[in-house]
Each structure stands twice: as structure tokens, then as C-alpha cells.
């Protein structure tokens, strides 16, 4: 196996033992990254020079042997909506084409503080609005398993780069499924932590009450390593929780014997893709084989989750994106007066999907409609939460498919926004409830496209998700398969 194909837990031992330097490792990854990038197109900005500087710093740290973690000297990718000091952060939008933040997001700061190396900023749907990364202003990221297919989204670049071994791990963000769905479609592990587990400071907001930053890894252990570093309270984010962070790696290795796994019938509807349904059911069988108890649970309000999501998320977005007015930073298209400058700037800076959601949200919050849409959605949000609370009285973890289908082809769903929105059907309720969710590879379609198993946990119980996923992963080979990087 080549160096760039390894996992973090495989290379970190060599780094610590000084059998391998971070500069060597970074060179291996960077060379491979640049070689396959024309095919994958996972990055908006590649930070080659900065990466080698960081690698050299990491080597100094490794030489002292002090403050070393599993991530020290390891190249990772960062979704281009996480602010990076001195490195432009576009959010996949023309609006921020030249925006260079004067500060680092807390998660970026945390990665840097343990000596991780950033290889670049990954492609994404514009302002994280999309499920295929096709709404990016910059490029179309390809699914490494089939270059004619989408990588999922919105964190498509972060998922594809890990899948294609362009980075050992990456950071993404998940507002309605944007980590879990691309993880499933690209055949890697992705974790959306509990709302408040990871600081949102420096994350360019889409929907503030739903957004959460999380890791992508080649396997569960790498995800746990990333989680360990990025989790925890941050005084800069009032919504981050002051709850101790457990030892994820230790918890992960515990057995699943006696673990109660809930299966919600609402997530296995009649029309569900057969391959997806069978793969997920097989995965559940495997957990049962390892001593987990399987229980049927009901989440009756979950069919409304998508509707609730498409009221709440655009509402918050309409307000969060109002600041891009051309006055202080970002794109400015001059006008005869201030109103004209605003409208010309926003007309040119935002793509159609972003405009659609701003209009949806503006409408939902308008006086006369607020009660019928926003307020009603908040009420249903509570009902959905109650369903999960009730289910988690009986079970420790809930297992469902991550996405309704394997990766689809470019353009297949761009014509009709509603079919695209259905991609989030199994993932949105987890953002609405703030619970943690993880996607782990659990199968392969006949067309050689990965399928993901979604595990949903209790609030702040990421440890149980990692444990369940790790137990499953240890018994299977899905995570060891490598994508073809070919068109099919």
C-alpha cells in the first residue's frame, strides 16, 4: 500500500517513531492530490506552500516528542466554509471569491494546535445548499467511485478528497445531511456531532440552529481521532455545550454486546431502493450477530422532517446571508444608489439555489406568514424531538439508511429541486433534533457505488455511535476498498 492510501492510525505511529517525517508524508499526499485532482476536482484552493511550512513545523514538534497527538503532522482537508486566516474562504460562492478571513475558525485553530497540516480548502455546494456539490460556483467535484457521478453534498469536496486519498481526513459541515450523505456516497465514514458538541465559531453560517461541523475519515478510528481534537466547549460560541469530552478511542473499542439498536419502520418505506435496504438490513444482522439487541421503534412525525427543514433552514439562511450586501467585503457590483448596489451585488454573487432558498425563507418569515410556516415548523420540530426522546428510552442507537440511493449522475436531479431535496430525507431529522449521526460504509451497489449505514445516537453520545460503527467495521471489508477514479 502506498503512503497516501494509509489511515491516520497507521501513519501516526511511524511519525511518532520518527520512521516517517511529516514533510515526507505531506509530499506523498500532495503529489497524489495534484495528480488525481484534475479527475476528482475536490479542492477550491490547494495550499501547497502553507502545507509544507506546517509539515516542517510538525516535524520540529515530532522531534521534541512533546505535545504529540495522532494528528500531528497529518495532512487534512478543510471545507471551504471554515474560516482560515490568510487563506481565502469562498463558501463555494462567487460572493466570497476574494474573501480572505483575518481569523481561524475554532476547529481550524484546534487542528493547527495539534500540528495537523492543511492541504487545502475543499469544494462544496454554494453556502452548503445542495446535496451533490453541483451548486458550487467553482467546479463540479466527481465521485471517486465513478467520475460521472456526484460525490453528494454539500461537503462533496471533503468527502471525495478523503475517498480519493488526497487527504487522510477532512472537516465538513452538516445542516441537513451534508456530512453523512456524501460520506455514504463516497464510501467513507462521516460524523455529524450533536449540536453544541463542536464550536461553530468561524463556520460560515447557513442555518445556525442546524449547522454542525464534523469529520470525515477513511475509517471509524480516524473519525474518532478527529472528533477528539475538534470537540469541546468554546466561549466564542454561546451554543456550544460545556459538557466533558469522553475518550472516544477508548470508548470505541468496547463491545456492542447487549447494545439496544432501534430500527424505525418509517425509514424503510416501500419504495426504498432495494440494494440500499438490503445492505442496511445486512449490517443490522451483523450487529445482532455481535450480541446487539434489535428493536423496532417508531418515529411517527419523521415524515414531516423534510418539510420542517425546508422552512427552518431557508428562514435562517435568508437572515444569515443578508450580510452579503457589497458594503464591507466580498463581491460588490456598483449601482446608481444603495438599493441598486445591493440588488446587483446579490444578483451576481449568488447562484440560483441560494436565491431560491433566500426567497423561501424570506417568505416564511414575512408578517402574515410567520405563524403558518416558521412557528408551525418550530412546533413540529418539537414533536419530532419528542419521537426521538421516546425511542431513546428504549434503545441506545438507531440504525437507518443514510441516503435513499447510491450516488447519482451529474444533472440527474438539478432540474427539479424537490427531487434533490429528497436526498436528505433520512438525514434532516437528526439536524432538526440536534442529535448525533454517523454514516459508515455498509455495502456496494451492482454498479460499484458505495452504500451507507446511518447510526443515530442520544445527545452527546457520539461515543456509542463510534463504538457501534467500529464493531461493524471490524467485521467487514467495505472501508478497505479503494475507488477506481474512472468514468462508468
Amino acid at each position: 500500500m502506498e503512503l497516501h492510501q494509509k489511515t491516520i492510525h497507521e501513519v501516526s505511529a511511524d511519525l511518532k517513531a520518527k520512521k516517517l517525517s511529516s514533510v515526507e508524508l505531506t509530499k506523498a499526499v500532495m503529489d497524489h492530490l495534484e495528480k488525481v485532482e484534475p479527475k476528482v476536482q475536490a479542492f477550491i484552493t490547494i495550499t501547497r506552500d502553507e502545507a509544507f511550512k506546517q509539515a516542517a513545523e510538525a516535524d520540529k514538534r515530532l522531534a521534541t516528542g512533546k505535545d504529540i497527538t495522532a494528528l500531528t503532522g497529518v495532512p487534512v482537508g478543510i471545507k471551504d466554509l471554515l474560516c482560515t486566516k490568510g487563506v481565502r474562504t469562498t463558501c463555494g460562492s462567487r460572493m466570497l471569491e476574494n474573501f480572505v478571513p483575518p481569523y481561524n475558525a475554532t476547529v481550524v485553530e484546534k487542528l493547527y494546535s495539534v500540528g495537523a497540516v492543511s492541504v487545502g480548502k475543499t469544494n462544496m455546494d454554494e453556502y452548503a445548499m445542495g446535496s451533490s456539490t453541483e451548486t458550487s460556483f467553482y467546479k463540479k467535484t466527481k465521485n471517486p467511485w465513478n467520475l460521472n457521478c456526484v460525490p453528494g453534498g454539500s461537503s462533496g469536496g471533503s468527502a471525495a478528497c478523503v475517498s480519493a486519498d488526497q487527504a487522510f481526513a477532512s472537516l465538513g459541515s452538516d445542516t441537513g445531511g451534508s456530512i453523512r450523505q456524501p460520506a455514504a456516497l463516497c464510501g467513507i465514514v462521516g460524523l455529524k456531532p450533536t449540536y453544541g458538541r463542536v464550536s461553530r465559531y468561524g463556520l460560515i453560517a447557513f442555518a445556525s440552529s442546524l449547522d454542525q461541523i464534523g469529520p470525515f475519515g477513511k475509517d471509524v478510528e480516524d473519525c474518532a481521532i478527529m472528533m477528539q481534537v475538534i470537540s469541546g466547549h468554546d466561549s466564542k460560541d454561546s451554543t456550544s455545550a460545556d459538557i466533558p469530552v469522553p475518550d472516544y478511542l477508548g470508548e470505541m473499542r468496547k463491545s456492542v454486546k447487549g447494545l439496544k439498536v432501534g430500527i424505525p419502520k418509517e425509514f424503510f418505506p416501500d419504495g426504498l431502493n432495494k440494494e440500499v435496504s438490503e445492505a442496511v438490513k445486512k449490517a443490522i444482522e451483523e450487529l445482532k450477530k455481535q450480541g446487539a439487541e434489535i428493536h423496532e421503534v417508531s418515529l411517527p412525525a419523521s415524515p414531516y422532517a423534510l418539510a420542517v427543514y425546508y422552512v427552518l433552514a431557508p428562514s435562517e439562511a435568508s437572515s444569515n446571508l443578508a450580510r452579503y450586501d457589497g458594503v464591507r467585503y466580498g463581491l460588490r457590483v456598483p449601482g446608481e444608489n444603495i438599493m441598486e448596489m445591493y440588488s446587483k451585488t446579490r444578483a451576481a454573487g449568488f447562484g440560483p439555489e441560494v436565491k431560491r432558498r433566500i426567497m423561501l425563507g424570506t417568505y416564511a418569515l414575512s408578517s402574515g406568514y410567520y405563524d403558518a410556516y416558521y412557528l408551525k415548523a418550530l412546533k413540529v420540530r418539537r414533536l419530532i424531538k419528542q419521537d426521538y426522546d421516546k425511542a431513546f428510552e428504549k434503545v441506545d442507537v438507531i440504525a437507518t439508511p443514510t441516503a435513499p440511493n447510491p450516488a447519482f449522475r451529474f444533472g440527474e436531479k438539478t432540474g427539479d429541486p424537490l427531487t434533490m431535496y429528497l436526498e436528505d430525507i433520512f438525514t434532516v431529522s437528526i439536524n432538526i433534533t440536534g442529535l448525533p449521526g454517523l454514516s459508515v460504509p455498509c455495502g456496494m451497489s451492482k454498479t460499484e457505488l458505495p452504500i451507507g449505514l446511518q447510526l443515530i445516537g442520544k445527545a452527546f453520545d457520539e461515543a456509542t455511535l463510534l463504538r457501534t460503527a467500529y464493531a461493524y467495521e471490524q467485521a467487514t471489508e467495505w472501508h478497505k476498498q479503494k475507488p477506481s477514479l474512472k468514468e462508468a
Partner: protein, 483 residues
């Protein structure tokens, strides 16, 4: 027709916290533009607000001082609108769950004390400041270019909204004065209208006297002093009355007070039709206050003006009016009360403070902190009069010297040899001399012209160079003449 005005006031008060409401930037006034800003102040993407606890404390203080109910659960909301002084294109404010609500404030009117309802006092952030250059002055849409200074953006504000309980411009003025006094007492704001730390908008409507239904209201903005507020409200009442008398309608709109023309003017109509699309601020957690927290703040409140006034009346025997004057400013009340410790004649002290001292301070544009003398010296003067050492005419001279030079009254009296002569024997000698020198006047008196005694008193006083005790001179003269 005779109309009754209905007025409600919205007062914005900048809190004097060291840092802004949601970040660590300083709040100092008057520094170079955009030197007190950070990524959050500029609305850079990814930044998040963090609540300033001191601001919440100050806001609760205001609520308690205005007799409000303090919400155990309140939350911040986003008020969405586009304007270049608002970097996020929304203001973080409070909508349906304000921190303080249902209070009141007592004002003194010609008809006595009147209670004015305080609907709410909520916490929000201030906007930045725009300077428009070229074109039609002072307007964003017609200027050649505009400059934005975000130093003020994010400074904590409390918006205090009154019920429409005020019925005249004078009542509005009294409300503003009383409110400002309270805010200064509890030390939460500089209340400096020139620097914009206190700002006021008025909602004004009129209705035929004796009717209940509210008329159409207008909102007057840009009144940057209490005097202008009074003038603007007076103007607006007359303007609306003239419209109704002509059979025309009052248009619901925002109007600006134009200081140069002394009239209210329509603001651009586009600026009125706002739908602020309020919704809960997802980046902040709700404000949940314990009973203990509120009680601790309540305990920390100083004595408020109305309570102090009542106490001054009972403790120092002042009239209610004098109590009102002396408590109208906390520094003045404190100055008086420190002084009252040094004399038994607190009423005399109060009279001097409100009389000669106030007049001279006004004349020389001086404040208490500029005075060259302290309370002890003024009390010395009060006591010298009380003891009969000097008479009131002399006292005025002594006061003037003390005011100008800061010297002690006792020393002035001594150095000028002013001490009043109250020795009956000395006065008798003087009286005898005057009687002997003026036999015709004495004859007039005895003939029944008793009014001439004044002339004789004057002569005795003149002879004593003004030092004789006039009361004694009078007595002794009378005794001798009537004998």
C-alpha cells in the same frame, strides 16, 4: 375643535459598559473611525455573538428602577433590514420576550404627580454611524458617497417604551427629565444626548377631547435634545390639529424634526414600509435569570429620586418642591446631604444652594465640581446668620467672596471686621447720639409720625458702619422714644 394629544415615547439609552454587547471591543466615544471594531463588529462571516453579562445586569437595573417585571425567561431576536450601518443586515434585539415589561414612572405635572406606564425596556445592539458627503446633505440616497464608522455598532442599548399616557409636550418633557435622572442615579448610562448615548423618538396623535379612540399617529425622529423633543411634539400637535380642522387626514408616517426650520418633515416613504421578519436569534441562548440574581441587583440599587425626595422632605423639613429641586440630580442631592451633616439648619442650607449658589453657578456656567468652596464653608455661613453674627445683607457679601475666592466665611467676617454689633450698651450709646443729633425727627415721632423711626434706624446703622444688629437697634430706639 379642542383636541387631546396622546403621546408615547421611545427612549434609546446606551449602556456604559466597558465593552460592546457581543464582543470585547471598547465603547469609548469619539475615537478615530473604525478603531473599535473586530470581525464581529463588521459582520464578517463565521463570527458569533457572545452576550455581555454586565449589559444584562445594567438592563435589569433599568427594569427594576422603572418598576418593571423582570422576565425570568427572555430571548434575543433578529430584526432584519438592510442599511449600511447595520453590518449583519439584522439587529439583534428583543421582540416578544423583552427582559423588562409592565413598569411605570411617576412624573410631576401642574396637576400633581402622574403615573406613566412603561410598556417594556429591552436590550439590543446599537448600529454604526454613517456620514454622507456631497449631494443633498444628510441623506444616503442622494449623497455622492457615504462613509461608515462601526465604532458605535454593537454598543449595548436599552430601548424604553412608554405607554401612550402622556397628554402634552410638557408632560413628555417631564417624563424625559425624570427618566434621565433615574438612569443617571443608577449609573448605567452617561445619558449624553450630544454624544447620542440618550436618544428619543415620539409617537404623537390627537383625538377630539372627551373621546377614547386613538387618532392616526406619526413617529417623530431625530430629536437630539429634550428641548427639541418638546418643540417637535408641540409643533406636531398643532400640525395635526390644523389638518383635522381642515377636514384632512393625518398620514401614518415617520417624520424628522428639522432644527433649522423648527418643523417636522416627512421622511422618505420607502423607509417606512418595513417588514422586519423577526425570529429568535439562533446564535444566542435564552436569558434565564434566577430570583436570587434579580434580588441581588435590586439590593444594589441606590435610593431612587422619588424615595430620596420624600425622605428629604421628612428628614430635613424641606418643602416638596425643594425636595424635588435638590433630588433632580444625584450629584446635587449628594452635595446637599453631605452639607446637611455640618449644620443644624438644613433648610437654611437648602435655601442658599437653590438661591444664591444656583444663581451664581448659572451666571458663571459652573458645575458643582468647579466650586472653590465645600459644603463645610457654606454651612459656616448659614450658621453665622443663624447665630446673628452677620445680617443677611452682609451674608450676601460674604457669600460672594467665598464663591469667588473660596475663603472661609468666618475669616471674611473677621478680616473685614463685619461681625454684627449686638452689644446693647454699644447700641444704646449710638442711639443716644443719633437722638441727640436729630431733635426735630424725635419731635415728629412723638407727634404721631411713627414712620420716621426707619430714618433713625438708618442713621444708627450708618453710624455703626452697618454692623449693628438691626433688630436690636429697632428695639432700643422704640424703647427710648416711647419712654
Amino acid at each position: 375643535m379642542e383636541y387631546e394629544p396622546v403621546i408615547g415615547l421611545e427612549v434609546h439609552c446606551e449602556l456604559k459598559t466597558a465593552t460592546k454587547l457581543f464582543c470585547g471591543c471598547r465603547t469609548t466615544f469619539g475615537n478615530e473611525a473604525n478603531t473599535q471594531v473586530c470581525p464581529l463588529c463588521l459582520g464578517l462571516p463565521g463570527t458569533l455573538p457572545v452576550m455581555n453579562q454586565k449589559a444584562v445586569e445594567y438592563a435589569v437595573k433599568i427594569g427594576l428602577a422603572l418598576n418593571c417585571t423582570i422576565a425570568k425567561y427572555s430571548k434575543m431576536d433578529r430584526k432584519n433590514y438592510y442599511y449600511p450601518d447595520l453590518p449583519k443586515a439584522y439587529q439583534i434585539s428583543q421582540y416578544d420576550k423583552p427582559l423588562n415589561y409592565g413598569g411605570h414612572l411617576d412624573i410631576v405635572t401642574k396637576e400633581g404627580t402622574k403615573r406613566i406606564g412603561v410598556t417594556r425596556a429591552h436590550l439590543e445592539e446599537d448600529a454604526g454611524k454613517l456620514v454622507h458627503a456631497g449631494g443633498k446633505a444628510g441623506r444616503l440616497d442622494s449623497s455622492d458617497y457615504s462613509l461608515a464608522d462601526y465604532n458605535r455598532g454593537g454598543i449595548p442599548l436599552v430601548e424604553i417604551v412608554s405607554e401612550p399616557d402622556l397628554r402634552s409636550a410638557d408632560e413628555a418633557y417631564a417624563y424625559l427629565t425624570a427618566l434621565k435622572n433615574i438612569l443617571l442615579y443608577i449609573d448605567v448610562s452617561d445619558c449624553n444626548m450630544e454624544e447620542g448615548s440618550l436618544r428619543c423618538d415620539a409617537n404623537v396623535s390627537i383625538r377630539p377631547k372627551g373621546t377614547e379612540k386613538f387618532g392616526t399617529r406619526t413617529e417623530i425622529k431625530n430629536m437630539n435634545s429634550f428641548k427639541f423633543a418638546k418643540q417637535a411634539i408641540e409643533y406636531e400637535i398643532k400640525r395635526q390639529a390644523a389638518l383635522l380642522d381642515k377636514g384632512e387626514r393625518v398620514v401614518q408616517e415617520s417624520r424628522l424634526w428639522d432644527v433649522t426650520e423648527n418643523k417636522t418633515k416627512t421622511m422618505r416613504s420607502k423607509e417606512e414600509a418595513h417588514d422586519y421578519r423577526y425570529f429568535p436569534e439562533p446564535d444566542l441562548v435564552p436569558i434565564i435569570l434566577s430570583e436570587e440574581y434579580v434580588q441581588n441587583i435590586r439590593k444594589s440599587l441606590p435610593e431612587l429620586p422619588s424615595a430620596k425626595r420624600a425622605r428629604f422632605v421628612s428628614q430635613y423639613g424641606l418643602s416638596d418642591y425643594d425636595g424635588g429641586v435638590l433630588t433632580s440630580e444625584q450629584v446635587l442631592a449628594d452635595w446637599f446631604e453631605t452639607g446637611a451633616k455640618h449644620t443644624k439648619n438644613a433648610k437654611g442650607l437648602a435655601n442658599w444652594i437653590m438661591g444664591d449658589m444656583a444663581a451664581k453657578m448659572k451666571e458663571q456656567e459652573k458645575e458643582l465640581k468647579d466650586l472653590k468652596f465645600d459644603q463645610k464653608k457654606l454651612c459656616e455661613l448659614v450658621d453665622l446668620i443663624e447665630a446673628g453674627t452677620i445680617n443677611s445683607k452682609q451674608a450676601k457679601e460674604v457669600f460672594a467672596e467665598m464663591f469667588d475666592l473660596g475663603v472661609s466665611p468666618a475669616e471674611v467676617v473677621k478680616s473685614r471686621g463685619m461681625a454684627q454689633v449686638s452689644d446693647p450698651k454699644a447700641i444704646e450709646t449710638a442711639v443716644d447720639k443719633v437722638l441727640a443729633e436729630n431733635p426735630s425727627v424725635v419731635a415728629d415721632y412723638k407727634g404721631g409720625k411713627q414712620g420716621v423711626i426707619g430714618f433713625l434706624v438708618g442713621k444708627v446703622m450708618q453710624a455703626s458702619q452697618g454692623k449693628a444688629n438691626p433688630k436690636l437697634v429697632n428695639e432700643i430706639l422704640k424703647k427710648k422714644l416711647d419712654a
